[in-house]
């Protein structure tokens, strides 16, 4: 019945992603706490799951012209370096230490979700925000 739990966890994090909260904030702790999965394996699962879902969402965003292309090149170039360095460190770290570090990162993200203020009015189109993201 383990597969049922996995589908359920995927389902929950998929719904949360629709809110614009990263699905990983639910998926990784759930796999770690409820399934006893090692931290690196849980993080790997989130990354792998993100690729097809993000690719599908991205196609529709490109078609609708929602991508701000001017901002992309410098963000992506240094981003790739950071992504390589971060992952290089993660796979070499002790699993329980990484779990602890992830916990602090999650705590910071939770504070952001709890204390952030909703912008009211303005010219920005809030109803389009975050709903089509994986």
């Amino acid at each position: 019945m383990a597969w049922f739990l996995y589908v359920l966890i995927g389902l929950a994090s998929g719904v949360i992603s629709g809110m614009g909260i990263g699905g990983g904030a639910i998926l990784i702790p759930a796999l770690s706490i409820f399934c006893g999965m090692e931290q690196q394996a849980a993080q790997n699962t989130n990354l792998m799951y993100f690729i097809p879902t993000a690719a599908v969402a991205l196609i529709s965003h490109v078609k609708q012209g929602n991508i701000e292309k001017r901002s992309l090149p410098p963000v992506i170039i240094l981003g790739l370096a950071g992504a390589a360095a971060g992952a290089f460190a993660a796979v070499r770290m002790d699993g329980s230490l990484l779990k602890k570090c992830f916990g602090y990162f999650l705590l910071a993200m939770s504070a952001y979700e709890i204390f952030r203020r909703e912008k009211k009015g303005g010219t920005q189109n809030r109803k389009n925000e975050g709903m089509r993201n994986a």
Binding site: A25, I26, L78
Partner: protein
């Protein structure tokens, strides 16, 4: 400071977090794109996605190399995730509210504390 410099720092931090923690790149990028780079709110999510996807491909390469890839779990979780994403995008268009973010924030904090101690 030049916009290019700020963009580079934003990319570096988001990439490092996403690689190290296997998540969170988008959570950092969306507000950073809005506040530091002046990207419109409704474009920030899509733009963040366009950044995080290539970063994830690079990070995954390192995780796969280490051989810790639970393929079966990935398959089950992904099938649930695709369905959940579909449901979420329909449902939350109607009911997303600030208090929903706060409730999930509290869940996240509880999970975080459990993982730290």
């Amino acid at each position: 400071m030049g916009k290019k410099f700020i963009s580079s720092i934003v990319g570096l931090v988001a990439g490092a977090a996403n690689g190290l923690f296997g998540s969170g790149g988008g959570t950092i990028l969306v507000p950073a794109l809005e506040k530091c780079l002046g990207v419109e709110t409704h474009k920030a999510h899509a733009t963040a996605l366009a950044v995080v996807l290539p970063l994830t491909l690079v990070s995954v390469f390192f995780y796969l190399g280490k051989g810790q890839t639970p393929w079966g779990t990935i398959l089950w979780v992904s099938s649930g995730g695709v369905l959940g994403g579909f449901i979420g995008s329909r449902l939350l268009n109607k009911i997303t509210a600030p208090w929903l973010h706060k409730i999930f924030g509290i869940f996240m904090a509880a999970a975080a504390i459990k993982m730290i101690f």
